[in-house]
């Protein structure tokens, strides 16, 4: 029974993907793109007339899946620059000046990278936008590097997730994948 269900699932999946690919136009990405705002849920709050704070930040990233693989220390190698996403380089936009790693960050668009190790990650804010992956990473275009501790979670996140959370000094960019979580503090 299980086997038949599984086979049926496979047939369905392949039917769905045939549907999605019956044209020369771009098909749907395996690692779907998503965006998060600070204040959290800004677009929904805006249409509900519930905004209490001005728009501060937005991150646009693609969401790879764990898909049974070991991510940190496996697919994502410790000590190497990682794209912090998939496909197009992960972008963070500030709509006002903020502070990060003790440095003033001017409003504008930046690319985010990370160098993960077992216990700490280095998060990199870089000026080279509108690029793909981390293949063209150039440290000369770095704006700031921030070291953040790795937190472990018992729950395994299948998809890479990035979102903003309010903090006492401003807000954090929370990044979760597998059972690893890091928080990048951003203040005003």
């Amino acid at each position: 029974m299980k086997k038949i269900l599984f086979l049926n699932g496979l047939i369905l999946l392949s039917l769905l993907s045939i549907n999605a690919q019956n044209n020369t136009l771009p098909s749907v990405d395996k690692s779907p793109m998503d965006m998060s705002y600070y204040p959290s849920n800004y677009p929904v709050l805006k249409i509900q007339d519930k905004l209490t704070e001005a728009l501060v930040a937005r991150v646009i990233y693609s969401r790879p899946q764990k898909a049974g693989r070991t991510i940190f220390g496996g697919l994502v190698k410790y000590g190497e620059v990682w794209r912090l996403g998939a496909n197009e380089a992960t972008e963070i936009e500030f709509f006002r000046n903020v502070r990060m790693g003790g440095k003033k960050i001017f409003k504008g668009r930046y690319t985010l990278y990370a160098i993960p190790t077992e216990n700490t990650w280095t998060i990199i804010l870089n000026k080279e936008t509108d690029t793909w992956g981390s293949f063209k990473y150039n440290s000369k275009k770095d704006v700031v590097q921030v070291s953040v501790p790795v937190q472990r979670s018992e729950n395994v996140a299948e998809y890479l997730s990035m979102y903003f959370e309010k903090s006492t000094a401003g807000f954090n960019l929370t990044i979760i994948w597998e059972n690893t979580k890091v928080q990048l503090p951003i203040s005003f």
Binding site: M1, L25, P32, W132, Y159
Partner: protein
């Protein structure tokens, strides 16, 4: 006997799963109640067993972006381009899931969000001209009023919003463009730039319909 009904049973279960999905999907219509937006952004149920529900799941209508020059990000990665990009569209991609586009998901004469979830955004990195009208560089929301033979495409300055709550006082330009029929049927709503002699067409295509907004840079 028992074995022979198993495939039938499992097929029925699968069909049921699909129809449940399409019932749940509100991904291209106006959001009814933003408090329940999680429904709008939840992955198909068949993945539920491998997902951790504590973290945000992928959207039914995945987000995507397209650049002009076409494939700009990849060109940049391979050092094949050194000039800045000219335009980018960020949109979410609803899919038909067995539904009819006109007059089903979309109604003639009614404003349509040209996507799903967060409002569809166009970033112009450079001033552009469309049908003789100059559009200044900047971020805009794009939406559409479709008719059977033509679409009206609207640039609006009310960015960073959800779905479509049209505020025509923030419209800055409207363009009427013809509609073409395409085959085969396109399951996912698709936006992509296509280079022309003067700049690029922004192609907007879904099901058997396609419209092109011509940009000059």
């Amino acid at each position: 006997m028992k074995n022979s009904i198993l495939p039938v049973l499992s097929f029925l279960i699968s069909v049921l799963a699909i129809s449940c999905n399409s019932n749940k999907s509100t991904d291209s219509g106006e959001i009814k109640n933003p408090d329940i937006q999680q429904k709008d952004t939840t992955a198909p149920t068949e993945n539920a067993d491998v997902m951790n529900m504590l973290y945000p799941l992928p959207d039914i209508s995945p987000m995507d972006m397209c650049y002009f020059p076409v494939d700009y990000t990849k060109l940049k990665m391979t050092n094949a381009i050194s000039t800045p990009p000219l335009a980018r569209v960020i949109y979410s991609r609803p899919h038909l899931q067995g539904r009819q586009l006109f007059d089903g998901i979309i109604k003639y004469g009614e404003a349509w969000r040209l996507g799903a979830n967060e409002s569809t955004e166009i970033d112009l990195y450079h001033d552009a001209t469309i049908q003789g009208k100059k559009i200044k560089s900047g971020r805009y929301v794009l939406y559409c009023i479709p008719e059977s033979k033509q679409w009206t495409i609207i640039f609006n300055t009310n960015t960073d919003t959800w779905g479509l709550r049209p505020d025509s006082t923030k419209d800055i330009a409207r363009f009427i463009i013809p509609v073409n029929q395409i085959k085969p049927k396109l399951e996912y709503f698709t936006m992509v730039f296509s280079e022309t002699s003067k700049g690029a067409d922004l192609i907007m295509a879904w099901e058997n319909t396609e419209a092109r907004l011509p940009f000059e840079f």
